[in-house]
Amino acid sequence: MATRTVTIASSVGLHARPASLFVQAVNATGLDVEIGRAGEDAIDATSILGVMALGAKHGEEVILTAEGDGAEEALDSLVELLSRDLDAE
C-alpha cells in the first residue's frame, strides 16, 4: 500500500474548487484512494461530499493512501496537486 503525507497549500483549504479538482484527479487514477488525518479513520477520496466534510484547512497535513498498480505514481501526482494553491490558479 502506498502512503504519502502532504500539506494543503490552497489558501481556502480543501473545499470549493480545490476539492472538486482533487476529486476529479482521484477519479482519473481509477484507484481506491483514501484521505484522512493522522490518527483518524480515512475516507474515500472519490467522494466529494466526504472530502469537503473532512474540512482540511490551509496548512494542515493529510495522509493519502492507495492500492493497486501505479499507486506510487498516482499518489505522487496527487501530492503535487495538493501542494499548489489551486484556488489562486
Binding site: 489558501s11 470549493a16 476539492a19 472538486s20 466534510a53 474540512g55 484556488d87
Partner: protein, 558 residues
C-alpha cells in the same frame, strides 16, 4: 375571454407574452411505500443520479467559466459514492426511493450547515441534485426554470436571487410571482434590469404554461388571454408614457425650479456602466456587497481599488454615494462569520459588523480613497444600520482619516430617524433607506411577502418617521436623500420632496417617470401632498389623497 386580477406592480412597464412556469421542487409522497427489492431499487436510483450528473455536465459545457465550475462540482455530488451508500442504507431500512434520497441528503446538509461558512453555501448545490433526482424518481420534470426559446413571461411561486440573476433579460418579457414583496430580491433585480414585474399575484402558479398574458408592472394587473383591444390599450399606454417621458430631460426639478437630484441605485460594475450612460445625476446608492459575498477570503486592497475605480470612472464628475459593506447574519461572509443569530435583521449587521471587524472597513475605506483619487467622481461614503450619534461619529472619523471628504449615514433605524438632528450633526448628509425603515417601523419582516401591506411605504406611520428625520436634518443644516424603493414611485416622490428630501435614488428605469412627475408640480403642491399623506388614516387613503391633488398628465400614465 378576458380575465384580469391584480397583484402588486414592483417594476414598471407593460408586456405581453406566453407563460413559462418555473417548476417548484417535488416532495416525496407521505408514507412512500418501501421498495419490494431494495437492491434492485438502488440500481434504479443510481441510474437516476447518473442521468442528473449527465444533465449537469451538459449544462456546464454551454455555461461561462464560473457557472461551469459550479455545475461540474455539482455533477460530482450527483455521482458521490458516499451519498449512494447512505441512500442504500435508507432503502434497506424500508424507506421508499424518494424518501431515502431526501433522508440521505438531509444528513449531509445538516453536517454542512453545522460547519457553516462556505460549506453551508454548498447545501444549495446538494439540494439542487436532490430536487432533480426526486422529481425524476417520481416521473416528473426537473424543477427550476425550463429551457424556452421565445421571449416569455416568467411565472413562479417565488424566484431565488440566483434564478433571477441568471435569467437572460432579452428573453424575459415580464416576471410574475405568487409570493415576494415590494422590496424582495425579485422586485429589485427586475427593476434593475428594466423588466416589468408583478408580485403577490394569487394563483400565478396555476396559469397553464403557454397561456398568453398581459402584464402591467405599474398597476399590478395581469390579464390572461388579453383581447386585441386590451393589448392595444396597454401598448397605447406604454407609448403615451414613452412620449411623455421623451419630453423631459436633465436634472430633477419641481415645476417652480426647486432641485431634487435624480440618482441611480447600483450594485456592480455592469450597473455602473449602464446607469452612467443614462440621463441621471449620479449614484445615490452603490451597494458594495458584491465585492465581498461568495468569496472565501477578504478581497485585498488592490482588488477593491480596481473595482471601485471601474465603478467611479463612467460617472465623470457626477456624484457616487457608496454604502460600505452591509453584510451580517442574513448575508453571511465566509471570512467574517459571527455565527448564527435568532433575529438576523436585528443582529450584528451593517455598521455593527464593521465595528466587530474594523479591519474589513479600514481596507474598504482605503480602497475607496485610492479610487476617488484617480477618478473625478464626487465620492461620498455612508454607513448602513447606524442607530446612534456615537456610531455616526465613530464612522465619520474613520472615513475622514482616509482622506474622503464627504461622509454620511443611512437612516433606516427608526431610532436614528427620531434622533436625526444629533446623528446628522456628526456627518455631512443622511440617506433614508425606506425599505428597512418600513420594516423596522412596522415590525414586519421584509422577506415575508404576506406582510406587504404593512411594508407599504405609503403607511402614514412610515411617512411620519421620514418627515421627522427630514425635520432633524433641516435643523442640523444637512441634506437628506432617499435611496429606498420609495424614491422611484412617481407619486411618493412628490410627498418626499414635500417632506424636505433633496435627492431621490432609484432603479435607473424609474428615473424618467419621476423626473416627469416632479416637473408637473410645484414645491407648494408637494408640501400640501405631504401634509395630506401624513394626515391619512391608511396607506390607501394617503395614496388616494395624493392622487386627487396630482396633475392629470401624471395620473393618465399610472
Amino acid at each position: 375571454m378576458t380575465d384580469a386580477i391584480r397583484g402588486i406592480g414592483v417594476s414598471p412597464g407593460a408586456a405581453v407574452g406566453p407563460v413559462v412556469q418555473v417548476r417548484p421542487p417535488v416532495r416525496p409522497p407521505d408514507s412512500e411505500p418501501a421498495a419490494a427489492d431494495p437492491a434492485a431499487e438502488h440500481v434504479r436510483v443510481k441510474a437516476v443520479f447518473e442521468s442528473v450528473a449527465v444533465t449537469l455536465e451538459e449544462r456546464a459545457s454551454g455555461a461561462d467559466e464560473t457557472a461551469q465550475q459550479i455545475l461540474t462540482a455539482t455533477a460530482l455530488i450527483a455521482r458521490d459514492k458516499g451519498l449512494q451508500k447512505a441512500i442504500g442504507k435508507h432503502l434497506a431500512a424500508g424507506k421508499g426511493p424518494a424518501t431515502a434520497v431526501t433522508a440521505a441528503v438531509e444528513e449531509y446538509a445538516a453536517q454542512f450547515e453545522a460547519l457553516g461558512g462556505y460549506f453551508a453555501e454548498r447545501v444549495t448545490d446538494l439540494k439542487d441534485v436532490r430536487n432533480r433526482a426526486v422529481a425524476r424518481l417520481l416521473g416528473k420534470a426537473d424543477p427550476g426554470v425550463p429551457d424556452f426559446d421565445v421571449p416569455s413571461v416568467i411565472v413562479a411561486h417565488d424566484l431565488a436571487p440566483a434564478e433571477t440573476a441568471t435569467l437572460n433579460p432579452s428573453m424575459v418579457r415580464a416576471i410574475v410571482t405568487e409570493a415576494g414583496g415590494r422590496t424582495s430580491h425579485t422586485a429589485i433585480l427586475a427593476a434593475q434590469m428594466g423588466i416589468p414585474a408583478v408580485v403577490q399575484f394569487a394563483g400565478a402558479t396555476t396559469i397553464p404554461a403557454g397561456t398568453v398574458v398581459a402584464v402591467d408592472g405599474d398597476s399590478g394587473e395581469v390579464t390572461l388571454n388579453p383581447s386585441e383591444d386590451y393589448q392595444r390599450e396597454l401598448v397605447g399606454k406604454r407609448e403615451r408614457r414613452r412620449s411623455a417621458l421623451a419630453g423631459s430631460a436633465g436634472p430633477g426639478r419641481t415645476r417652480d425650479g426647486h432641485p431634487i437630484a435624480l440618482l441611480a441605485n447600483i450594485g456592480g460594475v455592469d450597473d455602473a456602466v449602464s446607469a452612467a450612460a443614462q440621463d441621471l445625476e449620479g449614484v445615490g446608492l452603490f451597494r458594495t456587497e458584491f465585492v465581498f459575498l461568495s468569496r472565501d477570503s477578504a478581497p485585498t486592497l488592490a482588488e477593491q481599488t480596481e473595482i471601485y475605480t471601474k465603478v467611479f470612472e463612467p460617472f465623470g464628475t457626477r456624484r457616487v454615494v457608496v454604502r460600505t459593506l452591509d453584510a451580517g447574519a442574513d448575508k453571511p461572509l465566509a471570512f467574517a462569520d459571527l455565527g448564527p443569530e435568532e433575529n438576523p435583521a436585528l443582529g450584528k449587521r451593517g455598521l455593527r459588523l464593521s465595528a466587530l471587524r474594523p479591519d474589513l472597513l479600514d481596507t474598504q475605506l482605503e480602497a475607496l480613497g485610492a479610487a476617488a483619487k484617480v477618478t473625478r467622481a464626487e465620492v461620498k461614503v455612508m454607513a448602513p444600520m447606524v442607530a446612534t450619534p456615537e456610531e455616526a461619529a465613530w464612522f465619520a472619523r474613520r472615513v475622514r482619516e482616509n482622506g474622503l471628504p464627504s461622509v454620511g449615514v443611512m437612516i433606516e433605524v427608526p431610532g436614528a430617524a427620531l434622533l436625526a438632528k444629533q446623528v446628522l450633526a456628526e456627518v455631512d448628509f443622511g440617506s433614508l433607506g425606506t425599505n428597512d425603515l418600513a420594516q423596522y417601523t412596522m415590525a414586519a419582516d421584509r422577506m415575508e411577502g404576506e406582510l406587504s401591506d404593512l411594508l407599504d411605504p405609503w403607511q402614514p406611520a412610515v411617512l411620519k418617521v421620514i418627515g421627522h428625520a427630514c425635520d432633524g436634518a433641516k435643523v442640523a443644516g444637512k441634506p437628506m436623500g432617499v435611496c429606498g424603493e420609495a424614491g422611484g414611485d412617481p407619486l411618493l416622490a412628490l410627498v418626499l420632496a414635500g417632506l424636505g428630501v433633496g435627492s431621490l435614488s432609484m432603479a435607473p428605469s424609474k428615473v424618467g417617470i419621476v423626473r416627469f412627475s416632479l416637473s408637473l408640480h410645484d414645491l407648494a403642491t408637494c408640501h400640501g401632498m405631504a401634509t395630506a399623506a401624513l394626515d391619512a388614516r391608511t396607506a390607501a387613503d394617503a395614496r388616494e389623497a395624493v392622487i386627487a391633488m396630482a396633475h392629470e398628465d401624471l395620473t393618465a400614465l399610472l
